[in-house]
């Protein structure tokens, strides 16, 4: 399939946005999932609800709030620019931020589930062998949660590739900067001669989703086997 430079740009931008959204949100998702799985504190239910909010809110609303908070003159936008030199308003970084936030609850849910199924007796065993809290987390808890972490990464990545409402509201539809795959498809459908390009990009979206599902399925299966303690060659 031949892709025009413009289409290649769209594809590349989408992958970059989805990748960075996952990469940056992963540590936060692990931390939040761990807290939700293990800690109990007043206001936990509220915290849980807030984390899940992007899942149930209209994406446009999320985009609008992002615009208010992270716009050039928004309170968080100013902090980001002043302290980290990062501008997100109407930039691809903003698209990544929107994708990350929309995918966050999916990622947290998958990882939290994994944390909850871990046999905590193994953690006690690790502590008798000299492992402190951080050591136990790094060598037992985290590796055993790997299947959930992979699933979480996939769900969030796929969600990031498909993000539309929050992105277009927050960072608009700027070619080469914020026009990701869904936005490009939408744009082509609004153009009289864009049917062919829209179809092409839609097929690419289908292919990307299938590939992501396949890769994660293979990785999860391997990780589950590892976590169960089977040999790599499948002996049981």
């Amino acid at each position: 399939m031949h892709l025009t430079p413009e289409e290649q740009e769209v594809l590349w931008l989408s992958l970059r946005v989805a990748f960075w959204s996952v990469f940056v949100s992963l540590p936060f998702a692990v931390a939040v999932a761990y807290v939700l799985a293990r800690a109990s504190f007043p206001g936990k239910t509220l915290f849980d609800a807030v984390v899940h909010l992007p899942l149930v809110l209209p994406p446009v609303v999320v985009g609008y709030f992002l615009l208010l908070l992270f716009g050039r003159r928004g309170p968080l936008g100013e902090i980001l620019e002043h302290w980290f030199g990062i501008v997100v308003a109407f930039r691809w970084t903003g698209a990544a931020l929107a994708a990350g936030i929309m995918g966050f609850p999916l990622m947290v849910r998958a990882i939290r589930l994994s944390f909850e199924t871990i046999d905590r007796k193994l953690e006690a065993a690790a502590s008798t062998l000299g492992a402190g809290r951080v050591g136990v987390f790094a060598t037992v808890t985290l590796p055993l949660a790997l299947p959930g972490i992979i699933t979480g990464i996939l769900l969030s990545f796929a969600r990031g590739l498909g993000e539309f409402g929050a992105t277009i509201t927050f960072v608009s539809n700027i070619p080469g900067e914020t026009r990701t795959l869904p936005l490009a498809i939408y744009t082509f459908t609004q153009t009289p001669s864009g049917d062919e390009a829209a179809m092409k990009l839609s097929l690419i979206a289908v292919f990307l989703s299938l590939a992501a599902l396949y890769v994660s399925e293979v990785l999860v299966r391997r990780a589950v086997k590892r976590v169960r303690g089977d040999d790599a060659d499948g002996r049981h």
Partner: protein
């Protein structure tokens, strides 16, 4: 080494109040399930925090509620072998064994080789826990605990999840560890055979309390403790030495203070010490030395005591030389023979009732 435990703990309606001292060798916490044995070892390991009390290891206080001392588990240097092994499923056997090394609790390479050799783990090193047999898992778990530079080893029912065959296999390895590695062991069990085989000292527990503490042959032979312990099958525990092995008949002659015993299937060399348990219900009494009888052990002795009757059954204590035997007979048999303290009698014990089940090698 001395381990001093003096703790109190409340878990709902269950009250744990345990106080005992253990020195080198194997100390068994013995009692039926629910007696609080595992809770006691969990407090020693620092996994369970008792309400009150004090725990010292070699004079080093690891817990003292009065002074607010509570050394965290990773710093207590106590090896713990759990009932279910608890191997890390995502790590190979080798990585499991070396796990403590990640946290500067590992043992030197020579020690690693020694333990791998001792427990026969060499062929398992590259395997993963998921496809080890139950016995193999427990051997790896014992090795992993030994390789964490422990000053005390806790074994919590390490044989409970194994079938009979694996049990005796792992028990042999535990005996090996006891004899070869000079680390004191606290061994939790509800099985008489295991305790008789491995323990030097026995702490008898029931309903959260300690009933008796003492040398294994003493505590395990006390008939007064029997009614309080359902799993406890009363009898005598005798330390013997192998003086003859009849390979042709697979019979061993065991000398003890008061005579000799003939037993089957004793897996020990001449000169080795073997601890034998003779259950009271396997001992019959005769007034004259019986002739033309299949019973191989006829021991002459004197009735020292006759216990209280319980539903038609009495326990008769017979001294044979310096050794005490017990016989459980019906009250009718007692009346028919006119048994009374001071009477000279013959205790009859079938050789086959003294098989590997009751015999074991103490240190």
């Amino acid at each position: 080494m001395t381990l001093t435990v003096d703790i109190e703990h409340r878990l709902g309606a269950f009250r744990l109040k345990a106080s005992f001292e253990a020195s080198a060798g194997v100390t068994a916490l013995f009692g039926r399930s629910g007696a609080g044995k595992t809770s006691v070892v969990n407090t020693i390991a620092g996994i369970l925090r008792p309400d009150r009390g004090r725990i010292d290891i070699n004079g080093d206080t690891v817990f003292d509620s009065a002074r607010g001392v509570d050394v965290p588990t990773p710093k207590r240097r106590i090896g713990y072998v759990f009932q279910e092994g608890r191997l890390f499923p995502h790590l190979s056997v080798q990585q499991n064994l070396r796990y403590a090394g990640l946290f500067s609790r590992g043992s030197p390479p020579s020690e690693f080789a020694h333990v791998v050799d001792l427990l026969g783990l060499k062929d398992l090193l590259d395997r993963r826990p998921g496809n080890l047999s139950g016995g193999e898992k427990q051997r790896v778990a014992i090795g992993r605990a030994l390789l964490s530079s422990p000053r005390l080893l806790l074994l919590d029912e390490p044989l409970a999840s194994l079938d009979a065959h694996r049990k005796s296999e792992v028990l042999q390895y535990i005996e090996l560890i006891r004899d070869e590695v000079k680390v004191p062991i606290v061994y939790v069990s509800h099985a008489v055979e295991e305790v008789v085989r491995v323990a030097d000292t026995v702490v008898l527990m029931s309903a959260g309390g300690v009933l008796a503490v003492g040398p294994a042959e003493e505590v395990m032979g006390r008939p007064d403790l029997r009614p309080r312990e359902g799993a406890f099958e009363g009898g005598a525990v005798i330390d013997t030495r192998v003086v003859e092995q009849d390979m042709e008949h697979d019979l061993a002659t065991l000398a003890f203070d008061g005579g000799t015993l003939t037993a089957t299937n004793v897996d020990a060399l001449i000169g080795e010490l073997v601890r034998v348990r003779i259950r009271a219900r396997d001992v019959s009494i005769a007034l004259e030395r019986p002739q033309r009888i299949s019973i191989q052990n006829v021991l002459e002795g004197t009735i020292a005591d006759i216990g209280a009757e319980r539903s038609g059954i009495v326990d008769v204590t017979i001294t044979v030389g310096a050794t005490t035997l017990r016989s459980r007979i019906t009250t009718r048999a007692m009346e028919q023979l006119g048994l009374a303290p001071g009477l000279n009698v013959y205790a009859l014990v079938k050789a086959v009732s003294l098989d590997r089940r009751g015999a074991g090698a103490p240190t």
